[in-house]
Amino acid sequence: MSFLGHMGEGWMDKIRRWRHIAAVMGAVFAAAAQPRYWPRTTRNVFARQLLFTAVEATRFIALVAFMVGISVVVQFQYWLTKLGQSHLLGPALVMVVVRELGPLLVNFIVIGRSGTAMAIEMGSMKLSGEVRVLDAQGLDPFTYLVLPRVAGAAVSVFCLTMVFIVVSFISGYFSGVLLGASTGHPRLFIQSVFQAVAKADVFNVLVKTVVSGAMTGVICCTEGLSVGAAATEVPQAASRAVVRSVAALFVISALVSLLTYL
């Protein structure tokens, strides 16, 4: 095959792969809206996924948000007060923490913490024949394995982002007070933040958390389930899942920012 042929084949592979991921994503959203795809076993897996991805990660997310609050929010407070532009504090925080930093960091943590676990779990199940065992009992792997994990990841990323935003603002405000950078009453701080939130920001956060979280779930599950017969394929699938999830996250973030604010 010619050099151009090789390049073309590579791109066609990529297109096929992303088309497959998009198809699974569409199927998940369509199935998630139908109660018949939510028998009690699927609901149990969903609850376990929420517990692992959201509840057990809350402390770590809160710690990261606390540090971000100190490093970012307090700097905004300090410099805007110095420049006499403290009224811009709300819009600036919403722009940086709510629109970009919160969803991005939370997605990163979920990819690293839960995405890899999902890919490895799916890969190990496939390798050890457990997916076949489910199929043999009439449990569709899509309904029992993929749907609740993807939905769990999407809901978890949204909830954790809310936790992240609240904790970073609280820690930022009180750090500012301690460092003497804060000039206003807490009520004024909260007011300035809420006034800066527009409808577009709500849409932005929703898409960057729910869609990105779901995309992470879909990529990690499909990569895990693509494992063949060799044990060495499991870590390779996990590695691919992380790289592709991060790539998808940046693409979604950039696209949503462009669509929302341009």
Partner: protein, 251 residues
């Protein structure tokens, strides 16, 4: 509506793909309500794809496999999944979901496909477990249980919920032979309530014992073919056995 045939293989040929290694050629068999089919497999034979074909998990190269008189290829994916919920199976190897406890594994399919209360399912499973010599349902991960206990737990799962078809792939492997009586009683009780049973067994071990059961239809694997051996000793389905009364069939 009565069904004349629960499982039917019509001139089925299949080239084995991993994890299976034994091809099948021109296999024909039919099991109706109350029938027991025994496939005697010579020692040392590679893994057979027969049970996966019976469940519609493999598509044959040629021929047709029908469950409850419908070709597996005709079912929609959702209907096929629902149909598989009416099949109980003891797997030849690796039949467990490792991140669920054994009792959760046992009731998994019933919890997924029916709305029967978990307490009721556990009660039925516990009764079956006692029949197989287990004192209670194991509530630990499969990885920490002895294989003999796991095998009996797999029998419980195969018979739970009054399935229409029961596939037993070498059910006595890793189990002491004294457990056979309990399994035979359960098989006879299932047949008495109208289930069909397909038993794959070692020709020199449990298979030979199963083949001696009343009314058993026996096939012997010879190369890639199944050869019918002997006539039915007693075509009538057996009466219900004590201790294995049929559980509620409606879910």
């Amino acid at each position: 509506m009565s069904i004349a045939s629960i499982l039917k293989f019509d001139r089925v040929s299949c080239t084995a793909q991993p994890p299976y290694e034994q091809d099948l050629a021109g296999v024909s068999l039919a099991l109706g309500p109350g029938d027991l089919g025994v496939v005697l497999v010579p020692p040392g034979t590679a893994r057979l794809p027969l049970a996966d074909l019976a469940e519609g998990l493999l598509i044959p190269d040629a021929g047709m496999v029908a469950f409850e008189e419908e070709d597996w290829l005709e079912w929609t994916p959702d209907d096929a999944a629902a149909a598989r919920s009416r099949i109980g199976r003891v797997f030849e190897t690796r039949g467990w979901i490792s991140n669920l406890d054994v009792d959760e594994n046992i009731t998994l399919a019933q919890r997924h496909h029916t709305s029967r209360p978990v307490a009721e399912l556990e009660q039925e499973a516990a009764a079956l477990a006692r029949g197989f010599g287990l004192t209670e349902l194991p509530r630990v991960r499969p990885a920490v249980l002895r294989s003999a206990v796991l095998r009996r737990a797999e029998w419980v799962r195969a018979f739970l919920g009054a399935p229409a078809l029961i596939l037993l792939e070498f059910p006595l492997r890793e189990v002491y032979v004294d457990a056979l009586d309990g399994l035979v009683l359960a098989v006879q009780a299932a047949r008495a309530r109208g289930a069909a049973v397909l038993w794959l067994g070692d020709s020199s071990g449990d298979g030979a014992r199963a083949a001696a059961l009343p009314g058993a239809q026996v096939w012997t694997l010879s190369g890639a073919r199944l050869l019918r051996t002997g006539a039915e000793q007693n075509p009538a389905a057996p009466a219900p056995a004590a201790g294995f009364a049929s559980p509620a069939a409606e879910h």
